[in-house]
Symmetry: C2
Subunit: 89 residues, 2 copies
């Protein structure tokens, strides 16, 4: 789920990822990037908002980037949207 | 679905909203805002990416804002994430 200063959003509950972001900040990170693809993008926004509004009131969103990735699936190649939310403290 | 220069994302197919964005640009809008809440946020990113990559190559994302709204539901008040993607041409 996490790499240095990056939290990848999957299908787990929002709070799992909020905890991961808070843990990264508390371990000294000044910047944490939340990354998601496809339907997990909505959850990534939830994670950023819950982190900012309820756990780390001094954090804020520095940047949000969206893009498209090509992925291979059983039905051949297809496009999937991606999003990165960069949070700072 | 649309207000002046704003496209609200619901549960329809992505292409419905891409068409709405393209129509607004073709009717003279220089800026179109895509608005979504909750799970529709992922679809809003799809709409922006498909519009930019396949229909209006000269358009780009000017700004992305996320926030939280309080909404009343049968189970009382709850929070929902919101997103606004501002596209320009």
């Amino acid at each position: 789920m996490t790499e240095d200063n990056v939290v990848y959003i999957g299908n787990k509950p929002v709070m799992n990822y909020v905890l991961a972001v808070v843990t990264q900040f508390n371990s000294g990170a000044s910047e944490v990037t939340i990354k998601a693809r496809g339907r997990a993008i909505s959850r990534a926004v939830d994670v950023a908002e819950v982190t900012k509004n309820r756990f780390m009131m001094d954090s804020k969103v520095k940047d949000i980037k969206i893009a498209t990735e090509r992925i291979a699936s059983e039905r051949g190649e297809s496009n999937i949207s991606t999003m990165e939310i960069v949070m700072i403290k």
